[in-house]
């Protein structure tokens, strides 16, 4: 195991533990119009977006497992949903490498929607009642809205924490490429 991988691993472990504890002990109890923010899909998506699909999926699996164990929920459910989110965000980075300032917000919103619908789907598949009505949909919409507001700062914090351990930051790589010549789209034109 190289130093970079080891460093990234322990940083992801610390990030996962802190995220779950802060979510359970504080954020879940902060109600805004009856709904609360959900940091977990945001942090998992941010990690995937920064570290790639494989670390993103593994991180999502770990966060989900810890969440299910700490809250005495159905073990494996959150893992499956969050590994999907981490992998998806990571693949987006690997295939498109999007750089816009709005990307973390869009990814955060999609991650939250996937998490909410994923839980509904899993509940349905496991034979539990999933009665959807206006109140419930309103709560989901509200959670997605709150997460959209905090997605950018959460991404910035995760990026700040993981930056040192990342093999090569895409933005730095791009900036370096432009300044060393030959790789800029303008110079190719």
């Amino acid at each position: 195991m190289t130093t970079d991988v080891r460093s990234l691993t322990w940083r992801l472990v610390v990030l996962g533990i802190v995220t779950v504890l802060v979510q359970i002990a504080a954020v879940s109890q902060l109600k805004i119009f009856g709904a609360n923010a959900d940091l977990t899909p945001l942090v998992v998506a941010s990690a995937g977006l920064l570290a790639g699909s494989l670390p993103g999926a593994a991180f999502g699996f770990g966060v989900g497992l810890f969440l299910d164990l700490a809250l005495v929920q159905t073990v494996g459910m959150s893992s499956l949903i969050f590994l999907t989110i981490g992998y998806g965000a990571g693949r987006l980075r690997e295939l498109r490498d999007p750089q816009g300032a709005v990307v973390p917000i869009a990814v955060g919103v999609v991650a939250t929607v996937v998490a909410q619908l994923g839980f509904a789907l899993m509940q349905f598949l496991l034979g539990h009642d999933v009665p959807m009505d206006a109140d419930l949909i309103w709560q989901i919409v509200l959670t997605v809205g709150i997460n959209a507001v905090i997605a950018a700062p959460v991404y910035a914090l995760v990026r700040r924490w993981l930056l040192r351990a990342l093999p090569d930051d895409p933005r730095r790589r791009r900036r370096r490429a432009y300044t060393t010549g030959g790789l800029s789209p303008l110079s190719r034109a």
């Binding site: 109890q29 109600k31 009856g34 700490a70």
Partner: protein, 289 residues
């Protein structure tokens, strides 16, 4: 090289998905004393002191958010609460006579039981954690088996019923709220005595349902719903909840007077903002009503 990394990524993803599905299957297949449940209790044991610390440290932030929310909600509630206050005052005046008469009758028949929870040995507990999704209605509290808390014991606040203990570690426990889809509380309408089962309605914590109410009973908006306890003499049919604990108020009755009537109940306890709760650790007379 590229093929190798793609293959490695796909294998890792397949392994993680397989692990998740395996855990799900194993968790459903095992009993409460199974391996995964034991691991959960172990994790709860380790994590709960940290959560308690975090919960205490972050209380000012929660209070600040709560203050904003309360201020916004307060204005919209003023008119309704004034009306409710007037109705309650009238009911209290009528009730005081009934209480006096009831006391005299109790003395006459040799009964000396009050409807309070004194005999139930309540243990106060602080809420230290809450599920982030609306799909799981559970909270974590900072009291466990060392304080006499056991699985199945009812949990209340000053306002009313909250839920029951579903997992107990030595210094912390998990409480499943009455708004969880797995919860069912034997209850009755206070005014008419109509029996029913309080269950979650839509997943929304403020809209419960009183199901299986016989149609011969008259149910009105504003009636109170309380726990029913059990009427059975058999110890095998004990109720989890003592009789007379306030559950909620009836907010609406759809298709009233029919077999399919839907009685909507708004819980008295604010299930979304619980700080301190009480676990009733002693069962009195099999919770008979």
């Amino acid at each position: 090289m590229y093929d190798k990394s793609v293959r490695r990524r796909r294998v890792a993803l397949a392994l993680l998905v397989a692990c998740s599905l395996l855990l799900l299957t194993a968790y459903f297949g095992e009993s409460q004393s199974g391996g995964l449940h034991s691991v959960q209790r172990g994790v709860l044991q380790v994590v709960s002191p940290i959560q308690e610390g975090a919960s205490r440290a972050l209380k000012p932030v929660r209070d600040l958010f709560g203050w904003f929310g309360d201020t916004i909600n307060a204005k919209s509630q003023v008119a309704g609460l004034r009306r409710q206050n007037a109705a309650l005052r009238r009911a209290a005046i009528a009730g005081s006579d009934a209480v006096r008469m009831n006391g005299e009758l109790e003395k006459l028949v040799g009964l000396d039981q009050t409807n309070s929870l004194q005999g139930t040995r309540p243990v106060a507990a602080r809420v230290i954690g809450q599920s982030p999704t609306i799909w799981f209605s559970t909270i974590e509290i900072d009291q466990g088996t060392s304080a006499g808390v056991r699985v199945g014991q009812p949990v209340v606040t000053g306002d009313g019923l909250v839920g029951q203990v579903t997992t107990a570690a030595s210094d912390s426990s998990v409480v499943t709220l009455i708004s969880d889809s797995s919860s069912a509380v034997s209850a009755r309408v206070s005014q008419s005595g109509a029996p029913g089962i309080v269950q979650t309605g839509t997943g929304g914590p403020r809209d419960l349902r009183l199901n299986l109410v016989p149609r011969r009973f008259r149910i009105d908006k504003g009636n109170a719903v309380v726990t029913a306890g059990t009427m059975s003499r058999s110890d095998k049919l004990e109720s989890l909840y003592p009789p007379g604990i306030p559950v909620g108020v009836i907010t609406r009755v759809d298709d009233a007077g029919t077999d399919t009537q839907q009685v909507h109940v708004s819980p008295y306890a604010d299930l979304q903002r619980l700080e301190i709760v009480q676990v009733l650790t002693r069962r009195v007379n099999g919770n008979r009503g």
